[in-house]
Symmetry: C2
Subunit: 497 residues, 2 copies
């Protein structure tokens, strides 16, 4: 047999070791250890307690980098001690760009939806790096804070590819893109445009798109309407926890963070210190995350065998103390729960969909790029051409629109630029607008070339010259050149413009 695939193992804190023990026992019984070697990687409470604010030891970090795969129990972040979430650190540093979570109704896990006989089976794929999660925030004026929401074309392409590839692997035939492109026309517009572009490489998969608010209403009203939804970061964060609610909460919902270099499969619930060590914790979420991991590395047969056994076991009314009270059977401990699943390997559920265990891969199919020499530069629109046509200059001022417009008009004299518009919180207040529009101490002032024919000869120096003149009189909070890209404006108009 070929060399085993190494996976970094972090048991987690609190109930982590118990539930990880149960999961590894099931893996062992299912023959997973014939293909996989788990390598302990030190991270979590003990590392934080030793004064490491990353929460992961140097040796742990090396193992994560060497294996590129992490199976991880629940871990807490010490509050108020400067400690950072290990999840976020690993995701950002190693570029785990897609969060993939598969939510399905589990037998004897009672929820509002199970009571109503509404089955849930939906995969949510969330972009994991961009959006407002870059954390780029500035207090622009005394009263106004900005958070930059960034969407990049190659970032979109990465997550959309991952969604379609996951759909293909799971046999999902329709993928929706969730978005708010009716409001965030350029940024979510880009996310949606790249979804449609990438979809062309997966012609066997049908696509659709849905506005985020309608999606959330529909998921509550008729969750069966979606098989897979791919979303930007914040919207995906919200929808994936909503979907966890549909199946009973975080204890029944797996999570995978997929990257080219490092992928992390984890339980996202808490460490439950109140019941740690009592042998009564529920390992279902961690087991489901493990199933996602086995599928990710090519062990589909083993993953499906374990999922079938889990569903069969749940159908028998086997449950830990936190659920399944209506099954008519007493609760069992973590160890017994795991053992019951291990004993059910090879059995199939009768009420839940049966996953195929034959005709699917049962050996490692996993590769990862070599450790890069430097950062990988991701590009999408390499051929696009831009030209400067003006700039938006943002000011910290309490002047009324009319007075501000007059003063800025004066500053423009003798320059190639003219003041074309001012907005306050996105609504135009100059040259026209409504006196009913309340304003704050922060304006966007748009300067454009008097003669657009001059764009060809325009350079940044002229814009910065204008900025300098304005900065002599006003407090500048922000400056953005306005560009045309391939003949189309690369900026939005104001509401009312």
């Amino acid at each position: 047999m070929s060399q085993k695939l190494k996976i970094a193992l972090a048991e987690g804190d609190g109930i982590g070791p118990e539930i990880m023990g149960a999961c590894l026992g099931i893996f062992e019984a299912a023959g997973v250890m014939d293909h996989v070697e788990f390598v302990p990687a030190e991270m979590g409470e003990r590392v934080f307690a030793a004064g490491n604010s990353m929460g992961i030891s140097e040796d742990g970090m090396r193992i994560v980098e060497e294996t590129g795969l992490v199976y991880k129990g629940p871990m807490g972040t010490p509050v108020g001690k400067g400690g950072k979430s290990i999840n976020v650190t690993l995701r950002k540093m190693y570029g785990a760009f897609a969060n993939v979570r598969h939510f399905q109704t589990l037998p004897n896990v009672e929820t509002v939806y199970s009571k109503a006989g509404v089955p849930i089976d939906v995969v949510i794929v969330r972009e994991n790096i961009e959006d407002t999660y870059g954390g780029i925030e500035h207090r622009l004026t005394a009263d106004v804070v900005e958070c930059k929401r960034l969407i990049s074309a190659p970032g979109c392409d990465q997550v959309h590819h991952e969604a379609f590839q996951t759909a293909r692997r799971l046999g999902i035939t329709k993928v929706h893109c969730g978005h708010k492109a009716n409001i965030m026309k350029m940024s979510d517009g880009l996310f949606l445009e790249r979804f449609k572009a990438i979809a062309e490489e997966y012609p066997e998969i049908e696509i659709g798109d849905v506005i985020i608010d309608a999606l959330c209403m529909n998921l509550v009203l008729k969750p069966q309407a979606y098989d897979m939804v791919v979303l930007p970061n914040l919207q995906g964060d919200i929808v994936s926890d909503l979907a966890a609610g549909l199946v009973g909460g975080l204890g029944f919902a797996p999570s995978a963070n997929i990257g080219h270099n490092v992928s992390i499969f984890e339980a996202v619930h808490g460490t439950a210190p109140d019941i740690a060590g009592k042998g009564i914790a529920n390992p279902t979420s961690l087991l489901l995350s493990g199933i996602l991991m086995l599928r990710h590395v090519g062990l589909l047969a083993q993953a499906n065998t374990i999922e079938n056994a889990l569903m069969h076991t749940l159908e028998q009314g086997v449950h830990t103390g936190d659920f399944g009270a209506n099954s008519g059977k007493p609760a069992v401990g973590t160890r017994e729960y795991g053992a019951a699943i291990a004993e059910s390997l090879g059995k199939k559920p009768s009420t839940h969909v049966v996953r195929p265990t034959e005709g699917v891969s049962s050996a490692i199919e996993h590769s990862r790029p070599e450790r890069p020499e430097t950062h990988k530069l991701m590009r999408t629109f390499t051929g696009s051409k831009s030209e400067l046509v003006g700039c938006d200059i943002y000011l910290d001022t309490t002047l009324a629109p009319k007075a501000l417009g007059e003063q800025l008009g004066g500053v423009c004299e003798g320059t190639p630029f003219t003041l074309t518009m001012m907005s306050n919180r996105g609504t135009q207040v100059w040259p026209s607008g409504s006196v009913y529009t309340d304003i704050v101490d922060y304006y966007r002032c748009r300067f454009e070339l008097r003669d657009m024919g001059q764009a060809a000869g325009m350079d940044q120096g002229a814009l910065i010259g204008l900025l300098g003149r304005i900065a002599e009189k006003f407090a500048v909070t922000d400056f953005q050149p306005l560009k045309y890209y391939d003949g189309k404006p690369g900026y939005s108009l104001a509401q009312g413009q």
Copy 2:
């Protein structure tokens, strides 16, 4: 009797006139017309069709401005003809800053939650102007788009006041703030900070806060946990439609857009052209919006009498064709449905909460400011002091971090500034970072004073001088001064910094 309160009336398109007729009939029977005069205001399809891209006539606009109150049936926005949503236009132009929606289980409206016996009664208050809804978007590089997310302190104060005042009026004793301040620490941090500050003026109301993803999971798992939640714009948009799903969809969910100058009470469902004119449409959503309107202007007794009658009527199994099939009774038309509610005025529901009709206001209590001479400037932190300490300059470049860092270091020579950090999509890539962090063609480069003691003498000219030097070599996409406010940094650190 005193002069009647005038309210602008727009029946709406499609099923609008029918459902509005039913609602006005109920108002008439409940004595509302003793206090209110409805004044038709022309807006909607006919106005769009006449070539007015606002969808509201000049005369209609005048009536809206004069009355400051709008009761509005469903209206469509013509797609692809440059027409703008009337809702959005009115909200933005007149500063209707709070969207208030009351979601409750209605008798015989079958949903997953009603089947499971889980009652819903929650008010969602959404900030209606700010966040990413300012629509300020720029394509910064070939591959990267930015949308500015703006949160202002006075904008937060407005919506929080409205939430607490609504809670007081409705007898709600606990209000939650929903947010994502663990990620958007400064912007949602401000929203949460102002929530707590404004709450001090309403000491009888208990407060709590909840992270948006947990909120959405909890609303699905145990919606009874919240009485009222106030949220930023996008999160509030999502949560309010999720909550509409809990009670059966948009046909059973009211909507009020509250402003100091103009408030709009409307049905947010579609115009249902396929059934328009057939007399079978369901007026429940528009009636519920009308109930919110009556409460808003002080007619609590009338509003509560109508709500009690609606609930009593639903309990009797009266329903239109789109719901209530399990009541065992045949569907009735719009007119009959309205008549049944009018006939039930004075009756009380037996399964639904009974709203008090005595000891509450039954006369107009409503005032609005005079038409302003100019825009109202809203301020919160008038006393704060700032000082310049550097700037973030954002570049469009495909250089690797090391090479870019070296070149920028050279540009800083002889200036008071030094390059302290570079990040790519929010993650630090210079001076330290991981080669596993994939990058795009857009960098944030942070320049800070070598000697912070120089901050007192610093002016914008020095920063713009630095910008000019950098712009000689690089394409600048964005420039933001870094400031301390009252001794604390007004900017976030990079992930990994």
